[in-house]
Amino acid sequence: MSQPIRFHWTIWLGAAAALVVLLLPVVIVVMAGLTAGEYLTFPPQGLSLRWVIAFLRSPTFFPAYLFSLELAAVTMAISTVMGTMAAVYVTRTRFKGAPTMRGLFMSPIVLPGLVLGLALYVFYVTTNIGLARTFGGLLIGHVLVTSPFVLATVSASLVGFDLSLEEAARSLGAGPFQAFRLVTLRIIAPAVSAGAIFAFIISFGQFDLSLYLGTPNLTNLPYAMYISLRYKFEPTAAAAGIFAIALVVASMVLSSRLVNLGKLVANTRLRW
């Protein structure tokens, strides 16, 4: 029982193939962004930072990168607060409709982003509430697609939560909000942070909503890359990609320290 498991060679081969499929495109982007040539060839023509510098000076990609960061930060703040509050309600209430409500909150994950963007655009234009082609309009879409991830992450950590801890704080004279802040929030803080990181990264890489909600002055990095990829493979876009890859890897390493990733994945599996 305690002897280490030995995998059959077919498992090794299959796992290696899957890792190649997952990682090869990422490696190619990094190499294309660091190439010394005009475009990436095999074997590579050597390393240089010329495309990284071109990205930092680019009038399209660099502002798009900054815009993505800004949008993701605001999205993260709203989704985290709203999603955490809803997670506390959904896991603690005895209200019979709570599972339906949870289903509604989770459904932006299954609705195609293109359809959601279209629905929001039609809604903004017809109601004429001044959200069409604005930052606020795009932000609402981003909050819709990221808050399910906060809800799932935080409620996973609340499911096994021992309520008597909060009761104890109450019986010692703390108010309901104080008890929550001093006891529960401290215990679920890692899950809240992980949910916030997920929200940030998903908003940062969100493309589909921009098709209808984006405008030339509301262009995020994925949309800017899509526009340029339609015509040519600019190494400048790959250099922008390197910065996005670094951001994702850093956030994953950080969240792996905050929560047990395996446990999180097991708990957030979508219920159909």
């Binding site: 990422v26 190619i28 299954v110 279209l118 809604f123 890489g205 994945v265």
Partner: protein, 310 residues
């Protein structure tokens, strides 16, 4: 520090009387609903209402250039969809690509998920998990860039083979259905792996050991014991891949090079180029119905496989 806090609170709990505990609970619960108000209002106003009115739009008379729903209940848009071959064939193509992608992702993802689930070194486990999660979270357009550089007509594969005189003209690796499937599998593979890991991990190793000790080969033990037990995760992953692949605009646009007319491309094209909002809404509804019927197929198959057990 957290531990001390826990202990102090735990000792206080053991001293509190049942009565005070109950009243504390009630006080906390009475205003609990306030917590869900922001998200509920947000989702009613900006999710449920817009999505339902888009659905209503699909039943309106087509008026090019007009966005607002006008509330006449007609089936003109759906009749148009079923009478024009380019549209219903596009729905069939969308289903075909999604089915092939979900089967390919299942075959490709299973061994990796099996390895991550069974590996015992925590460090390796974390590294592999980070690789899978990071590739899931990385923006799809960036990964598509990498794939386009690899598979394009002047890309790494074709360019190198032509320069080394193995080929005269480029292999058709992209700007066709094959390219779209490769792109979709790459984008959706992490979702497949993640939905398999949990279910593989939940199977006790003694099941497979028992089969082996009764004389089964490794392959038979896997085929007759592990594989049937992991079917729920496999099916859930395939459903997820199907839904993601049928609704992706960007993969079909970039890897298909506007030559693979799946539904999301038609939706975008009808609305952006011709202003046919009502027909676009109808196509969106059909796309949503395709995903919904995939859920029903999934539930039917999984209840047949588990024989009513869940």
């Amino acid at each position: 520090m957290g531990g001390e806090l826990d202990m102090a609170i735990a000792s206080a709990v053991s001293q509190s009387t049942p009565r005070s505990r109950l009243s504390a609970l009630r006080l906390g619960r009475s205003r609990l609903w306030l917590l869900v108000v922001p998200m509920a209002i947000f989702f009613l106003a900006f999710f449920l209402f817009p999505v339902l009115s888009l659905l209503a739009d699909a039943f309106d008379k087509p008026l090019p250039g007009r966005v607002a729903p006008h509330g006449d209940f007609v089936l003109t848009n759906f009749r148009r969809f079923f009478s024009l071959a380019q549209y219903y064939n596009s729905a069939l193509l969308t289903i075909e690509i999604s089915v092939v992608s979900s089967i390919s992702a299942a075959i490709l993802g299973y061994p990796l998920a099996y390895m991550i689930a069974k590996i015992e070194r925590p460090a390796w486990n974390t590294v592999l998990m980070i690789l899978v999660l990071a590739s899931m979270q990385l923006d799809g357009v960036i990964r598509l860039y990498g794939m386009m550089v690899l598979l394009g007509d002047n890309g790494l594969i074709n360019g190198t083979l032509i320069r080394w005189h193995y080929l005269d003209k480029p292999l058709p690796l992209m700007y066709n259905v094959f390219g779209v499937i490769v792109g979709t599998v790459q984008i959706t593979l992490p979702f497949m792996v993640l939905s398999l890991i949990g279910v593989i991990r939940s199977i006790h190793p003694s099941f497979e050991e028992a089969a082996r000790s009764l004389g089964a080969t490794r392959w038979r033990a896997f085929r007759d014991v592990t594989l049937p037990l992991t079917m729920p995760g496999l099916l859930a992953g395939m459903l997820l891949v199907f839904a993601l692949s049928s609704s992706s605009y960007v993969v079909a646009a970039l890897m298909g090079g506007w030559k693979v007319w799946v539904l999301p491309i038609h939706i975008f094209e009808r609305i952006s180029n011709s202003g046919q909002w009502q027909f676009g809404a109808a196509l969106s509804t059909i796309l949503f119905l395709i995903n919904l019927s995939a859920v029903f197929v999934y539930q039917f198959v999984s209840s047949r496989l588990t024989g009513g057990r869940t």
